[in-house]
Amino acid sequence: MNILEVNNVSKNYGSLYALADINMTVGDGKWLSIMGPSGSGKSTLMNIIGCMDKPTSGSVILDGQDITQLSLTDLTVIRRDKIGLIFQQFHLVPYLTALENVMLAQYYHSMVDEKEALNALERVGLHARAKHLPRQLSGGEQQRVCIARALINYPKLILADEPTGNLDEANESLVMNLLHQLHQEGSSIIVVTHSPEVAKHAETTVVLEHGKIAQIIDNLK
């Protein structure tokens, strides 16, 4: 069973191709890395998979549903219900505490449960920092809050865009360990990165170049 199927997906801006005829699948509970240099189309692909953008052609089947046929409103619902997003820039709401940032994802999804949000923060080692605002947290701590926020609604797919891009080595290791934990618990993960070191953590790495798949690497071999 595949959590994601990308079939012949292209994205062009006028005469400029960002993605050309991309095909790939992610099995349920698998970890995939999308790697490539700047401008290779990896962020465009992530935005399409993350229901933040639509392809020009092709289809994307997420958890059995073709998301390319959905309206923007429906995409918002899919993104809210099925995807946990982790960003390079963290994108925490600056005027809410770490705990409230996690609870905000609950609020838009279903019901706010403070105890559950605290458990999520505890899981990323930030229970004691729950009442701190993002500006009072280090980069690594902010990324861990971002992970707790991504986990809180039990998403089918965790989508991480350069999750360690703004972190030092120690925090990078901490974040990758967390992703490993999630993977061992059965979460499907897609990590977009330019770093081969980060990409190696996945079972499979898809290398993009100029909007096309240049290579598929099986990291388990």
Binding site: M52, T76, Q89, L99, L104, Q106, H127, A128
Partner: protein
């Protein structure tokens, strides 16, 4: 084990409030813009109403169409009537008997004005007024309900602002008087005046050595003669007749109350135009400033809104949240502005009226509530209206665009 205090639940209202609290300087400036409008409109409207009611009350109940005073004392009489500033001037009393025969005059009554020394009841000098009970039509309408029996020479009626109650004793020039009645609020100088019989006023002047020279003939003088004119006659024509016959002999000046009140109304109209123009300027200014502030933060807000969109907020939720934010600014501005204006009016309304030289009657509670509600509603419109362009513009872009543009 960590114990966390319970935090307030996340709601759209809380998100809006937290965002405002996050930027206290900007929020305070926006609130000040709205409160300038609500304070100026509420304060100005209530003050205008107070003045309007005061003047209307004076016009309705003054009763006299023409007031005669010694030549050159026209302004003193107006000031005594409007502000209650004490003054003393004299006119030969026999003029009253002569003019009451003129056709078209239905009533004539004289008054004697005495400027008091400071009395125990009051912090400043008072206007003591002797009036003829048998002919009076000026004072009586204000105290019909308070004075049931005829006023005795050792009794006085006090204005509404005199700190004495019925039955109290009050002393002027070492003469003790019993307070027989207290008048309704007139909004005029009558509120700070004390009324006594004409005989009591003459005796007071004589025994208190307020006069020099021909003291025995004080009863031959009054300060002012009040005239009521038949509806079929023009007060101006009556004034002309009196002038022709007696102006030279008695050295007279005239105040025609309709002209005086019409002049005051003209002034009041100009005053209300200024008040409402100022309020309109503040209203527009608030809208423009809030529009500019919101427009200048569109990009900053796009990023924040983009994050919320990515987390699953629908466009309607975000529109609601941003409008609630601007609504909170308006509500706080309206409430603080109205409270501020109320405090200023309570403290200084009468002082303002006195300095303007116009009668005032405090607006009733129900009027104040009505004005408050109108001002509140007008203020509520400001911030949501001014922010509507930005709110719709911020939330119109799709989540990816909003998120990327904000980066």
């Amino acid at each position: 084990m960590h114990i966390m205090p319970q935090i307030k639940p996340i709601t759209i209202y809380r998100l809006a409030w937290r965002n405002l609290a996050q930027k206290p300087f900007r929020t305070t400036c926006l609130i000040i813009m709205t409160l300038l409008f609500s304070a100026s409109l509420f304060g100005g409207s209530i003050l205008t109403k107070n003045l309007n009611d005061g003047i209307a009350g004076m016009a309705n109940r003054l009763g006299a169409d023409i007031l005669i005073v010694p030549y050159g004392y026209e302004k003193e009489l107006e000031v005594a009537l409007l502000r209650g500033e004490p003054s003393t001037f004299y006119l030969k009393a026999d003029l009253a008997q002569k003019i009451e025969k003129i056709k078209g005059i239905t009533a004539v009554s004289s008054q004697l004005f005495i400027a008091s020394l400071s009395a125990g009841c009051c912090t400043s000098k008072l206007q003591l007024i002797g009036f003829e009970q048998s002919t009076d039509f000026v004072i009586s309408p204000w105290m019909k309900q308070q004075l049931t029996a005829r006023l005795h020479d050792n009794e006085v009626v006090v204005g509404s602002k005199i700190l004495a109650d019925v039955g109290d004793e009050i002393t002027f020039f070492n003469h003790r008087f019993r307070v027989a009645a207290k008048m309704d609020s007139t909004g005029m100088g009558f509120d700070t005046s004390v009324f006594m019989t004409m005989d009591a006023a003459y005796n007071l002047m004589k025994t208190a050595d307020l006069l020099s020279g021909d003291v025995d003939h004080i009863r031959n003088y009054v300060s002012s003669i009040f005239i009521r004119v038949d509806h079929d006659y023009q007060p101006k024509a009556i004034v002309n007749q009196i002038m022709q016959k007696y102006a030279v002999e008695y050295n007279l000046d005239f105040v025609m109350t309709k002209v005086m009140i019409s002049d005051i109304y003209k002034w009041l109209n100009s005053f209300s135009v200024i008040v409402y123009t100022l309020a309109a300027i503040f209203w527009l200014l608030a809208i423009v400033v809030i529009f500019i502030v919101y427009s200048s933060t569109i990009n900053e807000r796009k990023r924040e809104v983009g994050i919320l969109r990515i987390l699953g907020a629908s466009r309607s939720m975000l529109v609601k949240m941003l409008f609630i934010e601007s609504f909170i600014i308006s509500v706080i501005g309206a409430i603080i502005g109205i409270i501020f204006a109320t405090i200023v009016l309570c403290a200084f309304s009468m002082l303002i009226c006195q300095s303007l030289g116009l009668p005032c009657i405090n607006a009733s509670f129900s009027s104040a509530i009505t004005y408050g509600l109108i001002v509140f509603i007008l203020t509520l419109i400001i911030a949501p209206l001014a922010s509507s362009y930005s709110v719709l513009s911020i939330t119109r872009t799709d989540s990816y665009q909003a998120y990327r543009e904000g980066e």
